[in-house]
């Protein structure tokens, strides 16, 4: 999966945030809409759409979308 496609999937978990704010360098925890609800949706998305089971604690170590993408790639099972 290319990062552009990942960013699209990531952005889909938000309802109000402007699409242009989602870039590889975006520190997603700083986005106003980021919440525990979005965090769970992102974890579910990683498992269901990217085949990457990532623990909440592991995602917490990442700050940028690029870092989360890299983590996803390292955890992909198929």
């Amino acid at each position: 999966m290319e990062i552009e496609q990942f960013i699209q999937l990531f952005a889909d978990q938000f309802d109000e945030t402007e699409p242009e704010l989602f870039k590889p360098s975006t520190e997603f925890r700083q986005l106003e809409e980021w919440s525990s609800l979005v965090a769970m949706a992102v974890l579910n998305m990683l498992e269901k759409k990217c085949n990457a089971r990532i623990k909440s604690e592991e995602m917490r170590e990442t700050q940028t979308i690029q870092a989360l993408y890299d983590l996803m790639i390292s955890k992909q099972t198929a």
Partner: protein, 248 residues
């Protein structure tokens, strides 16, 4: 010392006994004098529970509650029972937009369908003695509240609550009582490695007026009450054990 809370001379089946709440129920029930029949999927862990039991005459059977054949085979092997604890269950935090038919089936298979089918088979095969007690380990979720990503789990437990009421009526004439225990969050490994972080748990525990999560044995004590003659006029109810969580 005799007590109405004693389980002496009672044979009790406990599903999902290889860990967590099920293992605690098996241990505590055996301490109260019960002969227990334990089932679980993992042979090694089930045997660890078996070895921790007090007294003797206990039985253990490997069975996967997600597999109907396993349930059928289990029932044919069982001795006559005075109690059954439907404990086996799974949790999978999943937002509704990511849940699909497979998730629905896996959660409902274990949490709802298996305990219902086991109960049907136990009654059809006349495996439960008169004055027996059937207990379902349900939850606060789906009955009193729910949680983020908990819709399927809540639905699976809510269904059980309805089943308890109906079966309590059906079996009343046989003197068999049917109840549930509805715990809040219990310290087990069921949520380990999931979508919920330690930070979220730390926040969540503050919502409990008694300022901690429950312990598996605290669920076991409630189950013992419902299995014992101390609750002989209690049927069709759910015993809430939640450290006060649903009060506010």
């Amino acid at each position: 010392m005799s007590s109405v809370f004693s389980l002496q001379n009672k044979t009790i089946l406990i599903t999902g006994a290889s860990s967590g709440i099920g293992a605690a129920i098996a241990k505590e029930a055996s301490k109260m004098g019960a002969r227990v029949v334990i089932t679980g999927r993992n042979e090694e862990r089930l045997n660890a529970t078996y070895l921790s039991l007090s007294g003797d005459g206990h039985l253990q059977y490997i069975a996967d509650m997600a597999n109907f054949k396993d349930i059928e085979q289990l029932v044919t092997k069982l001795p006559k029972l005075d109690g059954c604890v439907n404990n086996a269950g799974i949790v999978k935090p999943l937002m509704i937009q990511f849940s699909d038919k497979e998730d629905y089936e896996s959660i409902f298979n274990v949490n709802t369908q298996a305990p219902i089918l086991l109960t049907q088979l136990l009654i059809q095969h006349k495996k439960v003695n008169r004055s027996g007690s059937i207990v379902f380990i349900s939850s606060i979720s789906g009955i009193h509240c729910s949680s983020l990503g908990g819709s399927l789990y809540s639905a699976s437990k809510g269904a059980i609550q309805g089943f308890v009421k109906g079966v309590a009526l059906d079996l009343a004439s046989k003197g068999i009582r049917v109840n549930s225990v509805n715990p809040g969050m219990i310290e087990t490994k069921i949520f380990k490695d999931g979508a919920i972080s330690d930070d979220q748990f730390d926040e969540d525990v503050k919502k409990y007026p008694l300022k901690r999560y429950g312990k598996p044995e605290e669920v076991a004590y409630a189950v013992i009450y419902l299995l014992s003659d101390a609750s002989c006029w209690v049927t069709g109810t759910g015993l809430l054990i939640d450290g006060g969580f649903t009060l506010q």
